[in-house]
């Protein structure tokens, strides 16, 4: 098994282009499709008003910058005014210690949104401060934050099988998970086409008449494809989480477990495909169809929650992609624990075992 595995690595070293290109494509598509929130933020120049200290202004700026859409930077009043006069900026914010004022050139939409947002931040903070002063209790903020995480009223959606799950949607993570899993299907099954090639070129027969056991041959290939697919997904997650600061809240260990289950299932689906086709060419024709169908139905391109057609919803339930996406989103968006996603993971592994079994059976029957 080890020699088969090492052999695939050697072959990969000589022909890395295909796998590398799927990797690059994933990066490209996630960039392209994810809400590019860092680039799109509107910068609002702010300055400290009269009687307001630098620290107070800094404090407000830090609160305001929790926004996804605006970035507040502290500048000199002079500079902020000049920017508006020269038409570089549409608005500026004057921060006072418990109040604010906005300078506006044109009353347009971005101003409306900004004004709403700023007002909300100020009102909330001032209320909190007032409450703190009245109750004289230090951890009232922590208590309120706690309340927010488990609110009295939350939007829940019933899914077909009766579990309730909050429908949370994050454009970035949807794109990241969807595209990564989608392209990993290509990488994994194209790597697995080594098996089909060996059968075509006759090297497979050489392996069979050698003292190697047949399961070792299969295991070597499966292990290699698993590793390639797994590394691709994990590297991309690491890249977006740690280099680009995507908000993947889940524990990375949980993500790694989910990815392992998903990768295993896709390798198995690949084995099934190899059992069905008769040549590497056929396999290459089938891969894009399979990958795209699984991705579309399984919710890699858009969340299954927005699909209303019942047939498609039913179909999505037999796609490994669906469970992969559910588990990833559950972990990353809803902060579900490993226990809560065990259901999805078990289905993945079960699908994997079944398809692998059928695939190997088909191959053996033909031999």
């Amino acid at each position: 098994m080890k020699s088969i595995f090492i052999l695939q690595l050697q072959r990969f070293r000589r022909k890395p282009l295909l796998v590398v290109s799927f990797f690059v494509l994933t990066l490209f598509f996630v960039f392209f499709l994810g809400g590019n929130d860092t680039g799109d933020k509107i910068t609002i120049q702010s300055y400290a008003g009269d009687n307001t200290t630098q620290e107070q202004a800094d404090y407000w700026i830090q609160l305001l910058n929790a926004s996804e859409s605006f970035e507040f930077v502290l500048v000199e009043e002079e500079e902020a005014r000049n920017s508006i006069v020269q038409g570089d900026r549409n608005m500026a914010l004057e921060i006072r210690d418990d109040d604010y004022r906005m300078l506006v050139a044109v009353d347009e939409q971005s101003y409306q949104i900004a004004a709403n947002y700023i007002q909300q931040v100020f009102t909330e903070e001032l209320r909190l401060a007032a409450a703190e002063a009245a109750v004289e209790e230090e951890n009232i903020r922590a208590a309120i934050a706690e309340e927010r995480i488990s609110p009295v009223l939350a939007l829940n959606m019933e899914t077909i099988n009766g579990e309730s799950s909050g429908f949370v949607y994050d454009e970035n993570l949807q794109a990241l998970f969807g595209m990564t899993l989608f392209f990993s299907i290509y990488t994994i099954i194209f790597s697995l086409s080594n098996v089909a090639e060996e059968k075509r070129d006759g090297t497979w027969n050489r392996l069979i008449v050698s003292p190697l056991q047949k399961w070792q041959v299969y295991a070597g290939h499966v292990a290699y494809c698993f590793l390639v697919g797994y590394l691709q997904i994990i590297l991309i997650f690491i890249f977006f989480k740690y280099m680009l600061g995507f908000q993947i809240e889940a524990h990375f260990g949980i993500l790694m477990i989910i990815v392992a289950c998903f990768t295993f299932t896709i390798v198995s689906v690949g084995m099934l495909l190899i059992g069905l086709v008769t040549s590497p060419q056929q396999l290459q024709a089938v891969i894009p169809i399979t990958a795209t169908a699984m991705a579309m139905l399984g919710g890699a391109f858009w969340p299954v929650e927005i699909v209303t057609n019942e047939v498609i919803v039913m179909l999505s339930k037999v796609m490994p992609m669906y469970y992969g996406m559910e588990a990833l989103k559950g972990a990353a968006l809803l902060n579900q624990s490993l226990g809560e996603i065990t259901g999805a993971l078990s289905i993945l592994v079960l699908m994997g075992v079944i398809t692998m079994g059928i695939g190997i059976n088909l191959m053996e029957r033909r031999a």
């Binding site: 020699s3 088969i4 090492i6 052999l7 050697q10 072959r11 000589r14 022909k15 070129d201 006759g202 090297t203 027969n205 050489r206 392996l207 069979i208 008449v209 050698s210 003292p211 190697l212």
Partner: protein, 310 residues
């Protein structure tokens, strides 16, 4: 040491190998001769445990190895009909891999690879990617990959198909040397009569899935003991003269060849003078005449009425 008993194989009801019984003694070089589609590869696949026979047995030292092929796999070196190698890897990497799957490693593996490369004469090309090799060189690596584990029995399925005469000659000499010097038992499959004749002590002739004749080369040729072959080279074709030859009593068959005619005649019939007289009458230019013992090709022709290669 190795024998088959009544091996048969049917694909979807169509029998392609039927009742093949053959044996190999230690140190022998045995040929399996037959035209394309005769069932040679299928027979070899069953012997080498690649394929299960529909019926029949494969015995190694008297032990049935079909159910339990582990033993035969260790002692067999199989050279497949196609070049079954990894084209994007170097020759060295290929051999290293095939050595490893036979359980070789470390110093032992390195030494075997070195030895085998020198045997097939590719020591200075071993670091090159296989794709850059000529057909003949690939064939040699294809054979080399089956030699690493010092097989007791080497089974070769048309190992010289599609290569230039020098490479072929090199390979044949090499196999003969393996057989004579190292005592490796060889089962050599081919549809080239000359190869089998040059390489093998004993021959099985196969056609339409059956062994139609077998024995030492001499035994097989003695089937034709009453005949001899006259090769007559001519400057061009003379159809009229051919017809006249055919009418001669002691001539059994007249075959057109590239250079002239091949006449199968009753042995010792002293035909030459009458042949020359006829040639004279047709003003034919005879450039060479050669009297030959029958070849295996002639035996095949005699047995089936067809040539080995059409």
């Amino acid at each position: 040491m190795l024998e088959t008993e009544e091996l048969s194989k049917a694909f979807k009801g169509k029998t392609v190998v039927e009742g093949v019984s053959l044996y190999l003694e230690k140190g022998e070089s045995v040929g399996l001769l037959g035209p394309n589609g005769a069932g040679k590869s299928t027979t070899i696949s069953m012997i080498s445990s690649l394929m299960k026979p529909t019926s029949g047995e494969v015995l190694l030292h008297g032990e049935n190895v079909i159910k339990n092929p582990g033993k035969i796999r260790k002692v067999l070196g199989v050279v497949p009909q196609d070049i079954a190698l990894y084209q994007e890897l170097t020759a060295y990497e290929n051999l290293k891999f095939f050595g490893r799957i036979y359980g070789l490693k470390g110093q032992m593996l390195t030494e075997k690879i070195k030895e085998v490369f020198s045997l097939v004469g590719l020591t200075d090309r071993q670091g090159d990617i296989l794709n850059t090799f000529s057909g003949g060189m690939k064939r040699r690596v294809n054979i080399a990959a089956a030699l690493l584990h010092d097989p007791e029995i080497l089974i070769m399925d048309e190992p010289t198909v599609g290569i230039d005469p020098q490479s072929r000659s090199y390979i044949l000499d090499m196999i003969r040397e393996l057989n004579l010097q190292k005592g490796i038992t060889v089962l050599y499959t081919s549809h080239y009569m000359e190869e089998v004749e040059r390489l093998c002590d004993r021959v099985y002739i196969m056609d339409h899935g059956k062994i139609i004749s077998s024995g030492t080369k001499e035994e097989l040729k003695s089937i034709l003991s009453g005949e001899e072959t006259i090769l007559m080279e001519l400057d061009r074709a003379y159809p009229e003269m051919e017809k006249e030859f055919q009418q001669l009593d002691s001539i059994r068959q007249v075959i057109e060849t590239e250079k002239g005619l091949k006449l199968i005649s009753v042995k010792g019939s002293r035909l030459l003078s009458s042949l020359f007289q006829i040639a004279d009458r047709h003003e034919a230019q005879v450039t060479n005449v050669n009297i030959q013992e029958p070849s295996l090709e002639d035996v095949f022709l005699h047995l089936t009425g067809r040539k080995l290669r059409d």
